[in-house]
């Protein structure tokens, strides 16, 4: 199945074709295996999702049939590869509803997208004494690049506080703005807590102060409909591998006028127009930001992931995951002393929890013995862990292929673990 642009647009408008969990599970070969002699229960989807057969097939087909370097060759394979690569860009445009195709920059992933903005736009607008606003629930990848920039420029990083439910305090956020505020960097969805931030409102408030916003969408794109025009977001970063696509390929969306005014990120092939010994001129968007031979195979296979999600439809995916989350909360709430961290009203299907007196690592090791894959630790959000006064959590994060039976296995697993460690 490879969808045309028109099919993608139509399916997106229609909300997809719906959901049959048994069919979906068959699409993911990795799920059907034993881990430690138990059927695998994969609940680490916020770290990375598994790949449907269509994505795997696309990778194999690329290397089997059309591998060539893109954009420069005039031979047939180069043209086929270039065309397939650019088809993905068109698909991403539709997926996030950007106005122009050239607003889609391919990167290695969310982290590189954010670093790109910090190293180009960030360096342009941030001076000594200026201020960058981040939130208390950022992943390190949307915190550290800004701290590094602030350190280099003598700027200040300010933090939007969070309440005990894991929701950002918007009234406090409003108070952080001063004439020195130049950038707001915030995630759309928290990787640790699952909180869906009111991104549109956050952006509108920043724009009232003429401040640009970069959103980390890594945890949002597989769950929520993304419309960058409706959000009016200035930059939006995400990764393919968290939405059933390959690793090593991500996107930076940026408003065209901003991307045009920014200096290049890296120098090399592809990003130049003309080079002499004296200097060079830069290529047009989006190539100005894509120096060197890109990750062609994974970019092409990324299209298969976009097709897959769009074909099923975000509304059906969201409904299924929400049902799983509600079921999980119901099941876990019955376990004595277990406390869910992150109880925002608006959440994706992420259940982070602690059991006082039991180290999260012990839980993770023993659940693994039961064939259950969860994530334990600080989830690259150490400041957030300090905010909640905990060392780490155990996190079960769900995807479209998870089932209630798997939640039952998780519940049984946790009960067994408590018995063993108690």
């Amino acid at each position: 199945m490879s969808l045309t642009q028109q099919e993608l647009i139509n399916l997106k408008k229609k909300g997809g074709t719906g959901f049959d969990i048994q069919v979906i599970r068959k699409d993911f070969p990795i799920l059907h295996q034993q881990v430690n002699n138990k059927p695998l229960v994969y609940l680490d989807n916020a770290a990375t999702t598994q790949k449907p057969q269509a994505v795997i097939d696309s990778l194999v087909a690329y290397y089997s049939n059309i591998n060539a370097n893109i954009h420069r060759g005039i031979h047939t394979l180069a043209e086929k590869a270039t065309s397939a690569y650019e088809v993905t860009r068109e698909a991403v445009k539709i997926f996030i509803n950007s106005r122009y195709t050239e607003e889609i920059i391919f990167t290695r992933g969310t982290t590189e997208s954010i670093n790109l903005v910090a190293a180009t736009f960030g360096k342009q607008v941030i001076g000594k004494g200026d201020e960058i606003i981040v939130s208390a629930i950022e992943h390190h990848s949307n915190m550290v690049p800004w701290q590094m920039l602030a350190q280099e420029k003598g700027a200040v990083v300010k933090v939007i506080p969070v309440n005990d439910e894991g929701e950002l305090l918007i009234e406090e956020y409003k108070k952080l703005f001063t004439p020195k505020t130049k950038i707001v960097a915030v995630n759309h969805v928290s990787n640790t807590l699952g909180t869906i931030n009111p991104l549109k409102e956050i952006i509108a408030i920043a724009h009232e102060h003429s401040v640009k916003v970069i959103a980390d969408g890594a945890q949002a794109t597989s769950h929520l409909d993304i419309d960058v025009q409706d959000l009016d977001v200035d930059f939006y970063a995400f990764s393919a591998h968290k939405m059933y696509g390959p690793t090593g390929i991500g996107v930076l969306y940026g408003k065209k006028e901003l991307l045009e005014s920014m200096p290049p990120y890296q120098g090399g092939g592809e990003m130049i127009k003309e080079v002499t010994y004296e200097g060079c001129s830069y290529n047009e968007l989006p190539y100005k930001f894509e120096a060197g031979t890109p990750n062609i195979a994974d970019t092409i296979a990324f299209k298969a992931a976009i097709d897959y999600i769009t074909y099923i439809g975000k509304p059906a995916i969201r409904a299924h995951e929400q049902e799983l989350y509600n079921y999980t909360v119901e099941k876990l709430s019955s376990i004595k002393n277990l406390k869910i961290i992150g109880t925002a009203k608006e959440k994706v299907s992420v259940a982070s929890f602690i059991i006082p007196g039991i180290h999260h690592q012990d839980i993770g090791i023993l659940l693994d013995q039961e064939g259950i894959a969860v994530r334990t630790g600080h989830h690259c959000t150490q400041p957030l862990m300090s905010r909640f006064n905990i060392a780490g959590t155990t996190r079960a994060s769900f995807a479209l292929y998870n089932t209630k039976e798997e939640v039952d296995r998780l519940e049984e697993g946790i009960k067994k673990v408590i018995k063993m460690l108690g």
Partner: protein, 145 residues
């Protein structure tokens, strides 16, 4: 524990003990029990300097040279790691630095716990073994000087 046992003998003893445990949960239950039984490290030794920081759990390691014998004392904030720490202390503590440096640690592999020693497990155990050997090396040069 027989104080005259060699490092190799103690490793064989542990392998023997684990041979009786067939299911994974029996093995881990035993390790958890060892973790609980390990005497807590004196607070004065739980210093930043003695801390071996893993990504998820932490290990504290203190060592002393008594005569020509090295004694290790260790602790962890996670129970399974603490159990494994207890085994490592049991194997390496009470021996001469030269023995500690020479002997190969193979028992974790034989009892099916090798994966916890992988440097990517981010639990500080691999770093702890390295640190134990470093102390032995330092004590060894002290004895020889």
């Amino acid at each position: 524990m027989n104080s005259t046992s060699t490092i190799k003998n103690i490793q064989e003893e542990i392998i023997e003990e684990f041979n009786f445990l067939e299911e994974w949960d029996e093995k881990y239950a035993y390790i958890i029990e060892l973790g609980k039984k390990l005497p807590p490290l004196d607070e004065k030794y739980k210093t930043e300097q003695n801390k071996i920081k893993g990504c998820q759990s932490q290990v504290w390691l203190h060592s002393e040279l008594n005569g020509d014998i090295v004694n290790y004392y260790a602790d962890s904030d996670a129970l399974i790691v603490k159990g494994l720490v207890s085994l490592l202390v049991r194997v390496l503590s009470g021996h001469k630095p030269s023995e500690i440096l020479q002997e190969d640690l193979y028992f974790l592999d034989k009892i099916g716990m090798k994966q916890h020693l992988s440097p990517t497990r981010s639990n500080g155990l691999a770093a702890m073994v390295k640190q134990m050997k470093m102390y032995a090396l330092a004590f060894s040069s002290k004895l020889n000087s």
